[in-house]
Amino acid sequence: MAELVVPEVFGQLALGHYLVLSAFLFAIGLAGFVTRRNMIVMFLCTELMFQAAVIALAAFGRFHLDLSGQVMVIFVLTIAAAEAALALGLVVLLFKRQPTLDAEAWSEMRDA
C-alpha cells in the first residue's frame, strides 16, 4: 500500500487511468443493460458502453500519438447515431403493438 500517494493521482496520469475509467464505465453499462428492463434505458446503457469505448480510443490515440483513435471515435459516433435511430424506431413500433417498454414482454423469439 506504499504506492497509495494521493498527490500523484492528481499530478501525473498514465494510460491506465483512462483505461480503468473506461473499463468501469463499460462494466456499469453492461450491468445496466443486463439488469434494467426498460428498453429505452437498456439502449442508454449501450450508449454508455459506447462512451466507455470512446474514452479508451481517445486515450490510446493520445498514448500512441496517432490520430486513428480519434477517427475511430467518429465512426463510433456514426454507429451510435444509426443505432439510436433504428433502435428507437423499433421501440416505437413495439410500443405500438403492446403498450409496455418491458423488454421481457418481447421474448417470443426463443427456441421453442
Binding site: 443493460f33 443486463v34 434494467r36 423488454a103 421481457e104 418481447w106 421474448s107 417470443e108 426463443r110 427456441d111
Partner: protein, 730 residues
C-alpha cells in the same frame, strides 16, 4: 518331323553320355549371357498370344466351326517347332539370354529393380518347353475333337484359355528373371481358373475354379515374398546375375550368403517352396487339384497333370542354388513330397471316380518329384516330370475318351469290359501302357526308370525312411493304377444292355454333352461312341513319346545331361557316389533299387489283378471285412479323402467368413453408426443442451455474450500455459 525330333534326341543322349563330367564336387554350371540374333525365340510366346487374340476375334464374330481349334493347333505346333529349332541350334554348354523388351526397369541412386522381359534359354528351359509345347499341341489336337459338341463361343473360349495357358507357361519357364516367372505363374493360374470353370453353369465347377485360384494365391504370396527377399538381399532378380552370385563355390557360397544375410535370407527357400507347393499341389495346398478335375479332360491332362503342376518342380530346380541357403530346406521339400505322395496314394486307392484316381495319382507323383528335389536329385525330379508328363497325359486322355464316349460315366464300379468293345482298342492299350509306366513296371516303362532314380537317391542320401515311404507308395500306386485298368478295360464283355446301363447314370455329366447330341438319333444316346481319328492319333503319338522317353531318362543319359548343365546342377552330381570297388550289393542303392522297386510294383499289380480281375468278389469282401474291423475309421477316412477339405473349411474358411461378417457388423454398427454418426449427432446434442440459453430475453443474450467474452479472456490468459503444456508433452 516328330521322327527327326526323336532321332536328334537320341543322338544328343549318346553324346551326352560320353561328354558329361560328373564329379560331384563340380557343381559349376554355365550361366546365360545376353545374345543377339535369337529374337525369333519370342515366337514361342507370340504364337500362343496370336492364337489367343484370334480366338477372341472368333468369339466376337461368332465363328461356329472348328477354326479355333485348328488355329490353336497351328500356333502351338509352330511354337513347338520354334522350340525344337532352338534346341537343335542351342549349345547346351552356353546358355543364352534373349532380351525381348523392357518390362519393369526402375533405378534410384544405387538401387534398382530390373525385370526386363527376356528369355533365359538353357537346357532346363528347353527341356521343359519341349514337352510343354509338344504336349500342348497334341492335346489341343485331341481337344479339337473332344470339345466338338461345344463348337461356338464356348469352343473359342476353351482354345483361348489353352492359348493363354501356353503363353503364360512360356513366360514362366522361359522368363529370364523371377518376376517374369511370377507373371507366368499367375498367368497359368488364371488360365487354369478359366478352364476349370469352363462349365460355368455348374456351381461345382465354379467353386473348384475359385478354390484352385485362391489356394494357388496362398502359395503365390510365399513366392512373392521370396522374390522380395531375393531382391532385397541379392539386389537383382535376373537369373544370370543371381547364379553368378550364388555359384562361386556352390553350396559354400550359399551358406555364406545365408550367414551374412541373417534369418531373412535363410527363409528365402522356404518361401519359394510355398509357391512351389501351391502350384504343384503338395501338402498342405494339394486340395485344389482333385477338384480341378471339374474342367474338361484335355485341360486336366495338359494343365493339371502334365505341365502346369510341374511348374513347382521347375521353380525349385531353377532356383536350386537358393535351396541351399538353409540346410533344412531340402529335407523339408523331401519330406513334404514324401508325405504328399503317401497321403494322395492312400486316397487314390479308395476312390471310384477314375478321373479322381488319376488326379490323386498326379498329386502322389508330384510328391515323388519333390522328394527327388529334396534328396538332391534334380535329375530324378526332372526325369520324373518328363516321363510323367507323357504317361499321365495318356491316362487322362484315355479317361477323357471314356468319359466322352460313355456320356460322362467315370465310375469304375459301373464301367467294365471296354477291351471287348469295338473301336476302343487304341484307348485300351495306350491306357494299359501308361498304367504300366505309372505302376513302375520294370524295364519297359518309362516311369520305372525315373522313379528308381529318386528312390535310390533317397537311400543313397541317407534317408532310408523316406525311401521306404516312397517304396510303399510305389506299391500302392501300382495297385490303384491297375485297379482302374482291370476294372474298366477287363472283365466280361458287356452286351448292349450293359453298355446302355453304363451310360445311364450321368452324375458326373458334362450336361452340354447331351445338349450337343440332342439332334442325333436316339441310338447314340444309348450306345457309347468310340473315339475318332484325332483322339486315337494323339493317344498313339504320346504313347510313342512315352516309350521314347525310356531311352532318355537312364543315368548319364540325355536328360541328366540337360539338367547337369542347368541351375539344377548341384543336385545332379550328388547321385554318383564313388563306391569302393569291393562294395557289396546293398552298398549301392542305385544297384539294388532296380530290383526292389520292380518287385514292389509287381506285387501291387498282382494284388490289383487278384482283387479286380481274377476275383472281383474278393475286393468287396475285403472292403466289408475292413469296414467291420477297427480299421473302418481309416477306410472311411480314405474314402472321404482324410476329411482334409472339411478340416480346411472348418479351420480356415469358416473362421474367415465369420470374421468377415463380424467385421462387417462392427463396421456398420460400431464404427459407422455408433462412433461416426454419434460424433455427427454431438453438435445437435450440444445444441439441445444449450438451447435454454436461447430464452428470448434480450438481457440474458447480453449476459451470455459477456460470459463468452470472459471465457475468451480466460482462454487468452490460460492458453499460453496450455501451449507450454502441449509443447512439453510433444
Amino acid at each position: 518331323m516328330i521322327g527327326s525330333q526323336l532321332l536328334s534326341l537320341l543322338v544328343a543322349a549318346g553324346d551326352a553320355a560320353h561328354s558329361a563330367d560328373h564329379g560331384h564336387h563340380s557343381v559349376h554350371f554355365p550361366v546365360g549371357v545376353p545374345t543377339e540374333g535369337l529374337g525369333y525365340a519370342g515366337l514361342v510366346l507370340a504364337l500362343p498370344l496370336i492364337a489367343m487374340i484370334l480366338n477372341g476375334v472368333y468369339a466376337i464374330s461368332g465363328v461356329r466351326s472348328k477354326l479355333p481349334a485348328w488355329t490353336t493347333v497351328a500356333c502351338l505346333g509352330g511354337a513347338f517347332a520354334v522350340v525344337l529349332n532352338l534346341y537343335l541350334k542351342a549349345d547346351i554348354e552356353h546358355p543364352v539370354v534373349v532380351p525381348l523388351f523392357e518390362w519393369i526397369n526402375l533405378s534410384w541412386g544405387t538401387g534398382s529393380i530390373s525385370a526386363p522381359f527376356g528369355l533365359y534359354l538353357d537346357s532346363l528351359t528347353l527341356l521343359w518347353m519341349l514337352f510343354v509345347t509338344g504336349l500342348g499341341t497334341m492335346i489341343a489336337l485331341y481337344a479339337s475333337e473332344y470339345m466338338e459338341s461345344d463348337v461356338g463361343p464356348a469352343y473359342c473360349r476353351f482354345f483361348g484359355g489353352v492359348s493363354i495357358f501356353l503363353l503364360a507357361m512360356g513366360c514362366l519357364v522361359m522368363g529370364d528373371n523371377l518376376l517374369t516367372l511370377y507373371l507366368g505363374w499367375e498367368g497359368v493360374g488364371f488360365a487354369s481358373y478359366m478352364l476349370i470353370g469352363y462349365h460355368f453353369t455348374k456351381p461345382s465347377a465354379v467353386a473348384a475354379a475359385k478354390k484352385a485360384f485362391i489356394v494357388n494365391r496362398i502359395g503365390d504370396l510365399g513366392l512373392a515374398l521370396g522374390i522380395y527377399l531375393t531382391w532385397m538381399h541379392f539386389g537383382t532378380l535376373e537369373y544370370a546375375k543371381l547364379f553368378e552370385m550364388l555359384q562361386v563355390d556352390g553350396a559354400v557360397a550359399a551358406a555364406q550368403q545365408a550367414m551374412s544375410g541373417g534369418w531373412e535370407v535363410s527363409i528365402i527357400p522356404f518361401l519359394l517352396m510355398a509357391g512351389a507347393f501351391g502350384k504343384s499341389a503338395q501338402l498342405p495346398f494339394y486340395v485344389w487339384l482333385p477338384d480341378a478335375m471339374e474342367g474338361p479332360t484335355p485341360v486336366s491332362a495338359l494343365i493339371h497333370a502334365a505341365t502346369m503342376v510341374t511348374a513347382g518342380v521347375y521353380l525349385l530346380v531353377r532356383t536350386f542354388p537358393m535351396l541351399e541357403l538353409h540346410p533344412a530346406a531340402a529335407p523339408t521339400v523331401a519330406w513334404v513330397g514324401g508325405a504328399t505322395a503317401l497321403l494322395a496314394a492312400t486316397i487314390g486307392m479308395a476312390q471310384y471316380d477314375i478321373k479322381r484316381v488319376m488326379a490323386y495319382s498326379t498329386v502322389s507323383q508330384l510328391g515323388y518329384m519333390f522328394m527327388g528335389v529334396g534328396v538332391l536329385s534334380t535329375f530324378g525330379a526332372a526325369a520324373h516330370v518328363f516321363t510323367h508328363a507323357f504317361f499321365k497325359a495318356v491316362l487322362f486322355l484315355t479317361c477323357g475318351a471314356i468319359m466322352h464316349g460313355f456320356a460322362g460315366q467315370l465310375d469304375l464300379r459301373v464301367l467294365r469290359g471296354l477291351r471287348h468293345v469295338k473301336g476302343w482298342r487304341i484307348v485300351v492299350w495306350t491306357m494299359f501302357y501308361a498304367s504300366l509306366c505309372l505302376a513302375g513296371f520294370p524295364i519297359i516303362s518309362s516311369g520305372y526308370w525315373s522313379k528308381d532314380v529318386i528312390l535310390a537317391e533317397a537311400f543313397a542320401n541317407g534317408r532310408p525312411l523316406l525311401g521306404g515311404l516312397g517304396l510303399l507308395t510305389a506299391g500302392m500306386t501300382a495297385y490303384y493304377t491297375f485297379r482302374v485298368w482291370f476294372r474298366v478295360c477287363c472283365g466280361p464283355k458287356p452286351d448292349d444292355h450293359d453298355l446302355a446301363k453304363m451310360m445311364g447314370d450321368d452324375h458326373h455329366g458334362e450336361d452340354h454333352h447331351d445338349e450337343g447330341h440332342s439332334e442325333d438319333d436316339q441310338h447314340h444316346h444309348h450306345m457309347p461312341h468310340a473315339p475318332k481319328w484325332a483322339v486315337n492319333l494323339v493317344l498313339s503319338v504320346i504313347s510313342v513319346a512315352a516309350v521314347g522317353s525310356i531311352f532318355l531318362v537312364p543315368e548319364h543319359g540325355w536328360l541328366e545331361h540337360m539338367v547337369a548343365k542347368s541351375s539344377g546342377a548341384a543336385g545332379v552330381g550328388a547321385n554318383h557316389h564313388e563306391l569302393p570297388a569291393d562294395a557289396g550289393f546293398w552298398a549301392d542303392p542305385h544297384g539294388w533299387m532296380k530290383y526292389v522297386a520292380s518287385t514292389v510294383g509287381l506285387i501291387g499289380i498282382a494284388i490289383a489283378a487278384w482283387l479286380h480281375l481274377l476275383n472281383r468278389s474278393a475286393a468287396d469282401r475285403l472292403r466289408a471285412t475292413l469296414l467291420a474291423s477297427p480299421l473302418k475309421v481309416v477306410v472311411r477316412a480314405m474314402e472321404n479323402k482324410w476329411y482334409v477339405d472339411e478340416l480346411y473349411n472348418a479351420l480356415i474358411r469358416m473362421p474367415l467368413k465369420i470374421k468377415g461378417h463380424a467385421l462387417h457388423m462392427i463396421d456398420r454398427y460400431l464404427l459407422d453408426i455408433l462412433v461416426v454418426d454419434g460424433l455427427g449427432r454431438l453438435p445437435k446434442m450440444i445444441g439441445r443442451t444449450l438451447s435454454p440459453l436461447q430464452n428470448g430475453v434480450l438481457q440474458s443474450y447480453a449476459a451470455s455474450m459477456a460470459g463468452g467474452v470472459i471465457l475468451i479472456a480466460l482462454l487468452i490468459l490460460v492458453l499460453p500455459m496450455l501451449l507450454d503444456l502441449i509443447g512439453g508433452v510433444a
